[in-house]
Symmetry: C2
Subunit: 239 residues, 2 copies
DNA sequence: CGGCCGTTTGATGGAACTCAATCTACGTGG
DNA sequence: CCACGTAGATTGAGTTCCATCAAACGGCCG
């Protein structure tokens, strides 16, 4: 199947990410390839885990983007984090985990059950992945708490670029951008209208090129400097 | 010493919290009591862990409040989470952890080294504590992203009340409130001036009583309903 | 073609910020 | 014992950023 052949390829996004977090031994790679055989495809806006539901077993994102969302009683929504290929869902280690948020697909999505870490190298990769998740939550908090609308947009774009670089999904300095302006608004604590205006400013100044579902940052270094963006580092040996 | 006698007391805040997360066996309790013998005291505003510093070993908060802070280059600050008695600092499980945020004391603080989990019951308590930490981060994100100033203040007060209840530090419906309005502003993504005005509204309406370093919520149930506050539950057997 | 989703634009209002000054409580030293 | 300094809380006036409301536009698919 395509799923298998792509996973067997060392260049597959999800594997590339996990291998970048901790060097994977062959048994870990085959475990991942096996797991990917039973992959599941989901349409955008499809819910794949409800808040409060018990977590059967962790999932691994193979392709596409998803989000952890919280719905307020009056219809407001907050996307708490974005989930990209190679990210894990429900990756926690205490005995009776409950989902604390809903997961929705933001694009066509394929997921599989995350193989339980038989090898220490895969376990380490999971742990590092979890630590990175937390770092992204902290970054999200400072974005929402102290950044202006423009800073929020730019900082998030830089974070996504960093993360997609880990799984080799950045080419020519650009990457796929499946987010609607509405989803971006729910992520950044803004209204869709204001997100639109902010994006246009960035476009008019030539700082971002965003069209046809692809995003290019014209001068990433300048943007990093401007918003004081911090790249979450992994302490494990990179690559 | 006082530190010992108070920890030996099963009613000590830090132990009460951990015991509430997972029933602790006697060996876990003595390990905690031993650790508390070597406790360290810190003054308010004292930094106890710098961002980017390697984490020697996890710490346990015995008394007082602390905060995980991020400083921006232009002087803005964001408090990402508050740390209360019984909370752990640097409680993560991958091989080479780096601190991703600075920790500062917000009140007179005593901490000790968190005993490494020899017993499975203590390990479970640590894991649940870590899961709760993450739930609080998610709550913080929705506060900052989608709540108005008043909702933020109320929701945070309710969360702190929940958390302090876990360690038995709520009495007569009220609890110690060491936060300056400035610290509250840095937590909630507001300015001190606006926090002040928001607090006064709540006071004038008689919804909170805040004076002499103590906070009382007049009608918690009503406030919970109003802001749609969600109590992060622990799946482990409570109490 | 027509409906829908996502984007774009305009006009207006309001929540929160900024700047600046005053007030209070408290500790410290002359 | 009082003068002083400082940290935190309070108040006022003016401003800005972002939300709200409303409508139009564009592409895509049935």
């Amino acid at each position: 199947m395509t799923a298998f052949s792509r996973l067997a390829d060392p260049a597959h996004p999800a594997i590339r990410r996990l291998a970048a977090l901790a060097p994977l031994d062959p048994s870990a790679r085959t475990a991942l390839a096996d797991a990917a055989l039973r992959s599941r495809a989901l349409r955008p806006a499809r819910e794949l885990l409800a808040e409060g539901a018990p977590i059967a077993n962790p999932l691994l994102i193979l392709n596409g983007w998803a989000a952890r969302v919280r719905f307020l009683t009056d219809g407001r929504r907050q996307i708490m984090s974005l989930l990209l290929p190679g990210d894990l869902i429900g990756n926690c280690r205490h005995s009776r985990p409950l989902s604390v948020s809903t997961i929705v697909a933001l694009s066509p999505l394929t997921v599989c059950a995350a193989p339980s870490p038989g090898s220490p190298s895969l376990e380490e990769a999971y742990h590092v992945s979890h630590a990175l998740d937390e770092a992204y939550l902290l970054a999200q908090i400072t974005r929402l708490g102290r950044f202006s609308a423009e800073e929020r947009v730019v900082d998030l774009m830089l974070e996504l670029r960093d993360r997609l670089t880990l799984c080799g999904l950045v080419s020519d300095g650009g990457f796929a951008w499946p987010l609607t302006q509405s989803a971006l608004a729910d992520t950044l604590g803004l209204t869709p209208v204001h997100v639109n205006r902010t994006l246009q400013q960035l476009r008019r100044r030539g700082e971002v090129v965003l069209r046809a579902g692809r995003l290019q940052l014209t001068d990433p270094a300048e943007l990093i400097h401007r918003v004081g963006h911090i790249t979450a580092h992994v302490t494990a040996t990179q690559s």
